[in-house]
């Protein structure tokens, strides 16, 4: 029993070291990645803006129309959605 507990303690110390080692490797990898590839106002953002300003809301309406059309099993040409206001 004594021996086992000391084994368990050994294993635990070793394992915690490995965990910290692995996760520290990940931290440095992430930091490097983030430094090399910084965040830029992404191509998604403009879309959002356009929608916010455009009265046509084409993107969103198209998406909703398509999803409803898929649900209805009918062509998106057969109905039209209005009145979805961008916040």
């Amino acid at each position: 029993m004594e021996v086992s507990v000391s084994s368990a303690v050994n294993v635990s110390i070793l394992a915690m070291s490995v965990i910290f080692t692995v996760l520290i490797i990940l931290i440095f990898t992430i930091k490097t990645l983030v430094k090399l590839i910084p965040y830029q106002e992404s191509p998604v953002a403009p879309v959002r803006k356009i929608v916010a300003s455009a009265p046509g809301q084409d993107d969103h309406v198209a998406a909703i129309t398509a999803s409803l059309a898929a649900h209805m099993g009918k062509s998106p040409d057969e109905f039209r959605i209005v009145n979805i206001q961008s916040r």
Partner: protein, 410 residues
């Protein structure tokens, strides 16, 4: 063959479950109903505990052939997905599809909190060895402290399949109890001032980094700890489906119907392994006590490391986010949020706590990988064959055949 009224009646009466209903079965049916009750009334991880409890109920109805070990039975069929380590990785793919690594990438040092919380795993391991479990059993029990259902089931079915039922129950139960277990420990180990610390807004992360991250983690972790590849690799693949922007179809399926189907099969079959034989033992009580210990120490470990980070950063880190390092996504992060808001109602820690929260998932996957590296080979070369004699039928002759057959069955 003739069927007289009397003989037929007697046959029906003798084939009812009542004729075989033992006390142990009744207790286990009670346990199953308790899990169902906790799932529905207390909302304890209902997606898992409801089918698990129902599986337990079905398995313990005598002669129903619904035990995990009833060869040819329905739940035995599902159970093979646990035994052969198929279901947990597929579920983990769905979890990956549901996970947003953004907060972690915005503040990568919080990975250390996910590391620190693993101390719960090892205090439990030591405790379990002290209580007489062997090293592999102790490892499987310890991983309860990782607070990850699929990881616990994966490791238990690999290292100690005979303890799968109590380990699964303990893992999922304590995960649901996080909102009860953690706050007292959090208030005990932090000061009012610490709890009031507000953290700077997280910076935004390039989509490219979000795409590269799961690939890099797979590469680093699975190369260092190959045993965790099925689990961590599938987790990261699910996340890649989410972040890549080109696989919406696969993303939607993995995070909804695929994970749901696998969850039903996993939970039912784990529940069906909860039989009087395997569950009503002293070991179960030990495991339940050790599991609570595991969660407590994991919480404390994360918090104390959070205090260190608070000091090291000159007070920029609120130590409360440390307790989210146990995983139990997203409940532990919500607990950090709530305890922080209790101290100062304008304190929003949720997103900050999501970093250590998902770090905890990676941390316990790494812990699982270490256990596989250390103890995985001790179950023999072919894990699948090794499972059979432990779980299989008791007759020695049939058992030998069962070993071969189980190894053959996919």
């Amino acid at each position: 063959m003739e069927f007289s009224f009397g003989a037929s009646a007697s046959k029906i009466i003798h084939s009812t479950g009542f004729s075989e209903l033992a006390g142990g079965d009744l207790i286990m049916i009670g346990v199953g109903c308790t899990l169902i009750y906790l799932a529905i009334r207390k909302k304890f991880e209902p997606l898992l505990l409801l089918p698990m409890g129902f599986g337990c109920l079905l398995a313990n109805l005598p002669l129903s052939m619904m035990k995990a070990t009833d060869s040819g039975g329905l739940l035995n069929f599902f159970y093979q997905g646990v035994q052969h380590e198929i279901l947990p990785p597929i579920i983990f793919m769905g979890v990956g599809a549901l996970t947003d690594f953004g907060p972690l990438l915005a503040n990568p040092t919080t990975l250390l909190l996910g590391a620190a919380a693993q101390i719960g795993v090892y205090t439990t391991l030591i405790g379990a060895v002290y209580l007489g479990f062997n090293m592999q059993e102790a490892a499987a029990i310890g991983i309860i402290g990782g607070a990850d259902g699929p990881t616990s089931i994966f490791i238990a079915s690999k290292l100690a399949p005979h303890l799968l039922a109590p380990i699964a129950v303990a893992a999922y139960s304590y995960m649901s109890l996080v909102p009860l277990i953690q706050p007292p420990i959090m208030k005990l180990l932090t000061t009012e001032e610490e709890r009031k610390i507000k953290m700077a807004q997280l910076k935004q992360i390039s989509q490219t980094v979000k795409i590269l991250f799961p690939i890099v983690v797979t590469f680093v972790c699975c190369l260092l700890l190959p045993g965790v590849t099925p689990l961590l690799g599938m987790f990261m693949l699910g996340n890649l489906f989410r972040e890549s922007g080109v696989t919406q179809r696969l993303h939607e399926t993995t995070e909804t119907h695929l994970i749901n189907i696998m969850t039903i099969m996993l939970a039912l079959s784990v529940g069906s392994s909860m039989t009087a034989d395997s569950f009503l033992r002293l070991e179960t009580i030990k495991i339940i006590v050790l599991g609570l210990l595991a969660f407590g120490f994991a919480t404390a470990g994360g918090l104390l490391f959070g205090k260190i980070m608070c000091k090291a950063t000159g007070g920029k880190v609120n130590p409360l986010i440390g307790s989210a390092g146990v995983s139990a996504v997203p409940m532990a992060a919500r607990v950090s949020q709530k305890v922080g808001a209790d101290a100062d109602s304008s304190n929003f820690l949720l997103m900050h706590a999501m970093g250590p929260n998902v770090a905890g998932v990676i941390g316990s996957a790494v812990a699982a990988g270490i256990f596989v590296s250390l103890f995985g080979d001790m179950t023999g070369v072919d894990t699948h064959a090794a499972l059979a004699p432990v779980i299989g039928n008791p007759e020695p002759g049939i058992q030998a055949i069962a070993t071969v057959v189980d190894a053959i069955k996919q």
